[in-house]
Symmetry: C2
Subunit: 201 residues, 2 copies
DNA sequence: AAATAGTCCAACTAAATGGTTGAACTATTT
DNA sequence: AAATAGTTCAACCATTTAGTTGGACTATTT
């Protein structure tokens, strides 16, 4: 006999799977119910309607990524260590949940207001310690002139893009799944290296 | 009195707009007809069904980007010039059509087979001259060890990611539309610089 | 044990949506 | 000018889909 929490959890898990696979518009309530192995009206009992269910899933997904990255940036590590940790985090998270980045980016673009409200509701600012680290490194001429925003944008871009464009990468470079993951693994070292040292010798 | 070609073109333009705005599942045939200012059954007369119409639009969109980039990579320019040109191309193309990258990446992930067929049908290989340039630069120790694939992946990532994640960038860094485009413009110089020289001084 | 609150579902409804039809209208060919 | 081919659309149809309802069944409270 499943308890309330178990059923709710089953619905949530199923919804996450289906929404990530098919997107908000593509997902069918019946499909989610089937995936959860329960009757469709249970979805409405626990989550009222499709929007509410989606919101819950989306916010949970976003929370899996952004606060973790900000956590790393707020830590006591050196700038270089932080970059390494962020790169590792993205790559490990992708292994566990390959559809997550694609899902968040796409739905964010299609529910802009909902996304802004969500961002506003959590207080997301670039950690001060990170900003200071970049600014100090620039001032002391350890680094070329760059803003913390652009710095972070570079790291995130180099990590996420190959994950978002998985199909294109595999098709263009003719990679099997295995080769694709090797390709990604190479980047764990390549990215911090590129960020700080570039390619020129 | 509109000719056949004009009506077909109006449908195509409208479909492009609506599919890019709402995605395949989100787009409504009626919405496309309204956008084109014609009756819904015209869509079926010219494009048979939703899938055909979508396919046409999607392939046209993909053709706007990839062959152009490959064209630059196949040219006679130096490696550094090619990077600059690719970066410029992406940023200019985005100004003209800000929804295009997002559209192609998302739908590519949701119609993988269709996308593979499409890639296969055009013969898309990395241009030999580009591959040789990277390999020679590595061999002659002008560049750190890197494969042409990873090299290209870096450039494309640094360009496209901030475009795909526009909402996130604007929300997180608190940028107006104008500030966002300045942020992108900064990257035209920043990216080639990063690719070759990194940040270390 | 009776009453109450919580959990579950089969069957239903209303609305939306992709697609079809048949006829009217226009341009072109003979 | 008559016939033919091409173009347009209002009305319709079949299916899908989110959401509702009423009742059964279970656990908890009194």
């Amino acid at each position: 006999m499943p308890t309330e929490k178990e059923t709710e959890q089953k619905i949530f898990d199923a919804a996450q799977k289906v929404f990530q696979r098919s997107g908000f518009k593509g997902a069918r309530m019946q499909e989610i119910a089937d995936e959860a192995g329960i009757n469709k009206s249970m979805l409405h009992y626990y989550y009222r309607n499709k929007d509410t269910l989606f919101s819950t899933v989306f916010q949970s997904a976003a929370k899996k990524i952004m606060p973790r990255v900000f956590g790393i940036l707020a830590s006591e590590s050196s700038l270089r260590e932080k970059v390494v940790q962020v790169v590792e985090f993205y790559h490990n998270a992708f292994r566990e949940n390959p559809e997550l980045p694609s899902f968040v980016i796409y739905e964010m673009n299609h529910h802009p207001q909902q996304f802004k409200d969500f961002i506003g509701s959590m207080e997301m600012h670039l950690p001060e310690t990170f900003i200071e680290q970049v600014e100090e490194a620039v001032e002391s001429e350890e680094l070329r002139t760059i803003t913390p925003d652009q710095f972070l944008m570079n790291v995130v871009s180099l990590c996420m893009m190959p994950m978002l464009a998985r199909n294109m990468v595999q098709a263009l470079f003719h990679l099997t799944d295995e080769e694709y993951f090797s390709f990604l693994d190479e980047r764990r070292q390549l990215i911090p290296n590129l960020i700080f040292n570039g390619l020129a010798l």
